[in-house]
């Protein structure tokens, strides 16, 4: 079949100069950007809050840096709660926690700092609902101003327990503060993610996976 020109390709002389088109396109683009910016500002005001936890979209709150993470553990809720509630279990999966000392509602934490240093933290339990929720807050004698919470929910479909941990803190000044800020803020979710996954490994399998084929310090 022979090729036929369609009307669409004809009449180049009516298209105008390239300069004119550039001006028209630039104007249209600028107008579009203004329109989109206005629309976004308006629609943000009008949008209802979505169902995601706040720490997913907001990493600062009232002077605190905020991070959080959720993991599902294939164990019953009471078992996971009980394991966490005994804070002396936590160093088993929190790699920077050197020791935990519990006296009533008060807990003293020794955390590994930069270059072999140690950071001391004292927290008080603010709220404790069995098999449901624990929250804590640092006391005035701590090196760090921090508060945190952990919630335990039944996972759908009999998958075990959803554990949601959140932590908020104000880094102190000085070298230690800079180190903490770096450790937490460089990859805000990483530390929490690693620790919750270690908890999951420990609770589901009784051990924490390692590819090392030699015992540490052996």
């Amino acid at each position: 079949m022979a090729h036929r020109n369609t009307g669409y390709h004809e009449g180049d002389d009516t298209r105008g100069s390239p300069e004119m088109w550039r001006v028209v396109l630039f104007g249209a683009a600028a107008g579009g950007v203004y329109y989109l910016a206005r629309r976004t500002r308006q629609s943000r005001r009008q949008r209802p809050a979505d169902s995601a936890p706040q720490y997913v979209r907001q990493h600062r709150s009232g002077g605190y840096a905020v991070t959080g993470r959720t993991v599902t553990i294939a164990r019953p809720r009471n078992e996971v709660y009980a394991f966490w509630r005994d804070f002396t279990n936590l160093p088993a999966f929190m790699e920077n926690v050197r020791s935990v000392d519990v006296t009533g509602d008060l807990t003293r934490w020794v955390i590994a700092g930069p270059a072999g240093s140690e950071v001391t933290l004292e927290t008080r339990i603010v709220e404790d609902r069995e098999n449901d929720h624990i929250s804590w807050r640092s006391t005035s004698g701590s090196d760090i101003d921090t508060q945190g919470s952990v919630s335990f929910r039944d996972a759908p479909g009999g998958r075990g327990t959803e554990v949601e941990a959140q932590i908020a803190y104000v880094p102190p000044g000085g070298a230690v503060g800079r180190w903490i800020a770096k450790a937490f803020q460089k990859e805000p979710a990483m530390q929490g993610r690693r620790e919750l996954k270690r908890l999951k490994m420990l609770m589901e399998t009784g051990e924490i996976a390692t590819s090392s084929n030699r015992r540490p310090n052996a």
């Binding site: 075990g160 990483m190 690693r194 996954k197 999951k200 009784g206 996976a209 590819s211 084929n213």
Partner: protein, 389 residues
Amino acid sequence: MRALTWHGKHDVRIETVPDPEIVNPRDAIIEVTATAICGSDLHLYDAVIPGMQRGDILGHEFMGRVVDTGAKSTLKKGQRVVVPFTISCGKCFFCDKQLFSACDNSNPVEKQDVTEALYGHSVSGLFGYSHLTGGYPGGQAEYVRVPFSNVGPIVIPDGFEDEQVLFLSDILPTGWMAAENAEIEPGDTVAVWGCGPVGLFAIQSALLMGAARVIAIDEYPGRLALARKLGADTIDFKQTPVLEALMEMSGGFGPDAVIDAVGMESHGFAPDTVMDNIKQTVGVGADSGHALREALMAVRKGGRVSIPGVYGGFLDKFPLGALMEKGLQIKSGQTHVQRYLKDLLDRIREGELDTTFMISHRLPLEEAAEGYHNFRYNQNDWTKVVLKP
């Protein structure tokens, strides 16, 4: 102990390294009696899989004798076992669903960050592979630490030679799962790209599952001859245009199911392959995917696509339109080895599966580097290399 270690592209060496120890309660230590070089080891040899480190011990197809056990291992010293290349905890959601290569708990936490960034989720640990999958020391060595030894290894009864059962560790279940993923129906025509060990086992498996006809595609006469011996028809892509041939051979239908047993290092001289190879060479994480593109074009409407071939990153010019418009189904994945072990061992015992015909060379472990070189560059004659420590 002596072990084969990775030092960079085309640089593997036998070295003396510390013996492994029991680290976790469910560990066992295996003294390796036989191990093999896998086609996917060549992806490491060619340095196209990210996340390798100098000194990593390679090897994920191995078997041997239990010489030490942790407090919670169910194995006993002296037992002879074949070890799956996938490391699986047996306790998580995924293991519970028999999706062993998706295990949540076997990839060490500090290794999961990069894998999550690359794939959205971390995947199970694997022996002797990239640090994306744990960086576990592998089986081309005298001894191996086997984590979760109560879940993976299958105890081999007396009466089997090592070579009869060694490939339960990877390529036999991988070929079997490839055919299973093709959801073969009686009367089907199945096309298999790649007549390496996985492709050959996929051919055997597809015929056992009732395929009326299997068409095998490769360029090496030696490998095509092995496929013919199994009962497959063959296409030599060096002399025959594959798409056209498949259409003609299937009466204009196209194969009902296609299996890509080639993976990310597809070669030949198709224009897309040349572009892919340039991108792989400059290291932008690109996979070479000529075989997969061709398979998607060849498969009939509503057909099934099974991908046992290994891909690690991103594939350009993926014919997504063919997938959507023809209504295709794709199934893929690292093999859920533990799911198939018992059944396949029974089939070996019954003589349904021939597991030794593809072994072309047997070498002492000390000569493993030579084995890699030849398996890579003399693919016609070197179809499978078994190493003995």
